[in-house]
């Protein structure tokens, strides 16, 4: 039994180091990506199109719904405590700092994380990866890096849109139910907002994007030969991404509020 535990721990550690090695490989190739005039740009564009642009609607709806709920609750409940100003702080904390990046990351994981893992897994099974190597293309730089950059860019951009929808779109929706003067809303919102809020949200988006793309492509590549491994890779990619995203979120929040 001890040996079983021992070997499982050793495997875990090995795979952890392998994962980290993979991550640094990705970073190294990413640094080279823009210096090379490469065919990878097309993959990058497509990745942003699929990961970012096509997730815009889902993120937009989420953001407007959450923002509208917050504004309605805030503007009806908070004055009871004489704290109506808090609404703007709450909006910013929830939309800009916390839920914005987190929900965007969840949407992206569910949509594109699985897509990347299964796509790369299928390519491994079909020997397409080997085919890339055989023509002299590094699969990390050609396949992973564009997905990595595409996902990180999509995360950042979608987070901005999430903020736009969550803070402005929801305001417009709320106008239909409970009008608030736009002047007041904007001025108060901008007063409550700090650059650190935006930076915090963007930092989280960046970290989440890195996590989702690296985990998903790592899981995709971990497929060996059988096509039955592909859905497993997809499930693992989502599961690990979620866990790591939440851990990272807690970590970043702790660092920011403790520091």
């Amino acid at each position: 039994m001890f040996s079983a535990i021992g070997s499982s721990v050793r495997n875990q550690i090995t795979s952890l180091f392998y994962g980290l090695g993979f991550f640094f490989q990705v970073l190294k190739e990413t640094s080279r990506f823009f210096r090379r005039k490469q065919v990878g740009y097309k993959v990058l564009t497509m990745q942003i199109l699929f990961t970012g642009f096509e997730a815009l609607a889902v993120c937009g709806i989420l953001a407007v719904a959450i923002g509208a709920a917050l504004i309605i609750i805030g503007s009806s409940q908070l004055p009871k405590f004489g704290q109506s100003q808090l609404m703007y702080s709450i909006l910013i904390i929830v939309i800009t700092r916390e839920l914005g990046p987190l929900l965007t990351a969840f949407v992206i994981t569910a949509r594109s994380g699985t897509a990347i893992a299964t796509q790369l897994g299928t390519m491994v099974v079909n020997h397409e990866i080997e085919a890339y190597i055989s023509v002299g293309l590094n699969p990390i730089s050609y396949l992973v890096v564009p997905r990595f950059i595409g996902m990180v860019v999509s995360m950042l951009v979608l987070t901005v849109y999430f903020n736009l929808f969550g803070l402005l779109g929801s305001f417009i929706v709320v106008q239909l139910i409970r009008p608030i003067p736009i002047q007041e809303y904007l001025v108060e919102l901008l007063r409550a907002m700090r650059v650190s809020d935006i930076l915090s949200g963007m930092l989280k988006a960046l970290i989440f994007g890195v996590i989702v793309s690296v985990v998903s492509s790592y899981q995709g590549f971990s497929v060996n030969r059988a096509s039955t491994e592909i859905p497993v890779a997809g499930i693992k990619a989502v599961g690990q991404s979620f866990v790591l995203i939440i851990l990272a979120d807690v970590f970043v929040t702790l660092v920011q509020y403790a520091g």
Binding site: G52, N163, L190
Partner: protein
């Protein structure tokens, strides 16, 4: 789908550019809103203590924020050096002989840093030293009237001055109520010679005045905003008023206890109540008409006090005393109501005083709850 793939580059480009523009726009708006790009004019001063001072403390002039404290530090002479700045748009007001004043709330509700512009024609050069009102130089400047020190018009002062007349009115009402109750007491004790109707009429007259008084409170408050008075006098009188109110309420409470005790003692009451010549008989023999009238009056009083309480709720943060005074007033009035109801319920026939569901004031409940 075909369209998307064909124009992937354009779509993606637009997608990113819009986001960047939005982000940039938000940050620029933020910067404008939070004065990143505006120029500040820096000055120095010295305070005795850094209590109530911190980097970032706002400087006000007539309620407008005109600047901020940049940094504070303890110097070799054990004084507190303060670097502060005045916003560009207010710099033209920074004349020579301008003073800074740290205005501390007398009831421990924080402090405000006030800027008083000098009456000179010369602008104070950037980086120069500005005296405080506490300093000897500052006192000299004030004495020579080289500085325009306005009426205290910060929020707390304003609120305090508004509370004063309100309290006066409450006080008057309380005195009347007290007097009336005393009369009722005496009538009940058989000491009153006049009919109870007179007394009740008396109550009616006083209380009828009350809603109007209360209604006037807002006007009074508004009026008083313009009133020029010194802060300390107001606060002093306010505090003494509050004190008086409390003692008044104590008196009322004492009286009420007496009344209640009397009512609860049937041996003394029975003969008095059975006395056909007694005023109580009159009181009770008119199909409750009189009682209802009294009740409605009391109801009005209570309503008035409630509306007063509402006003005071908003002042809660600033004036804990008012809330407690009013709360006690309310208790007093409710007990008066109890007394009258007790009379109606005629302890001989039905007996007892109905339980009142008490409503706590917002102030108390907020403080006592787990917050």
């Amino acid at each position: 789908m075909k369209f998307k793939i064909k124009f992937a580059d354009q779509i993606v480009g637009l997608f990113i550019v819009i986001a960047l523009v939005a982000l940039g726009g938000i940050i620029i708006m933020l910067g404008i809103n939070q004065r990143w790009f505006a120029k500040n004019y820096y000055f120095k001063t010295v305070f005795n203590s850094s209590t109530n001072l911190a980097a970032g403390t706002a400087i006000f002039m007539k309620g407008f924020q005109v600047g901020k404290i940049d940094a504070i530090r303890l110097n070799d002479a054990n004084m507190v050096d303060v670097d502060f700045y005045i916003y560009e748009e207010y710099y033209p007001k920074v004349k020579e002989n301008s003073l800074l004043e740290l205005s501390v709330s007398p009831i421990g509700l924080g402090a405000q840093l006030l800027f008083h512009p000098g009456l000179s024609d010369q602008l104070l050069a950037e980086g120069s030293f500005m005296y405080t009102t506490d300093s000897i130089e500052g006192q000299i400047i004030i004495e020579q009237e080289l500085v325009a020190i306005p009426v205290k018009d910060d929020t707390i002062t304003r609120l305090l001055s508004n509370v004063n007349p309100v309290l006066e009115n409450v006080n008057r009402t309380l005195v009347t109520v007290n007097r009336t109750l005393t009369e009722v007491n005496r009538a009940l004790a058989g000491q009153s010679t006049g009919p109870l109707g007179t007394i009740v009429g008396d109550i009616s007259a006083t209380t009828a005045r009350l809603p109007a008084t209360i209604g006037n409170v807002n006007d009074t408050v508004a009026m008083l905003r313009a009133r020029i008075d010194t802060l300390m006098n107001q606060v002093d009188s306010l505090l003494s008023e509050a004190q008086t109110s409390v003692s008044n309420v104590n008196g009322i409470t004492g009286n009420l206890e007496q009344t209640t005790a009397a009512l609860r003692d049937p041996t003394g009451l029975i003969p008095r109540l059975l006395d056909p010549e007694g005023s109580i008989a009159t009181f009770l023999d008119d199909d409750n008409a009189l009682f209802n009238r009294v009740m409605s009056i009391i109801g009005q009083v209570e309503q008035s006090v409630r509306s007063l309480q509402q006003i005071v709720t908003s002042l809660n943060g600033e004036m804990p005393q008012i809330a407690s005074v009013l709360n006690e007033t309310k208790v007093a009035i409710e007990r008066a109501q109890d007394v009258l109801e007790g009379i109606r319920n005629n302890p001989l026939i039905r007996g007892g005083i109905t339980e009142q569901a008490t409503q706590e004031s917002l102030y108390n409940s907020m403080r006592e709850g787990n917050f």
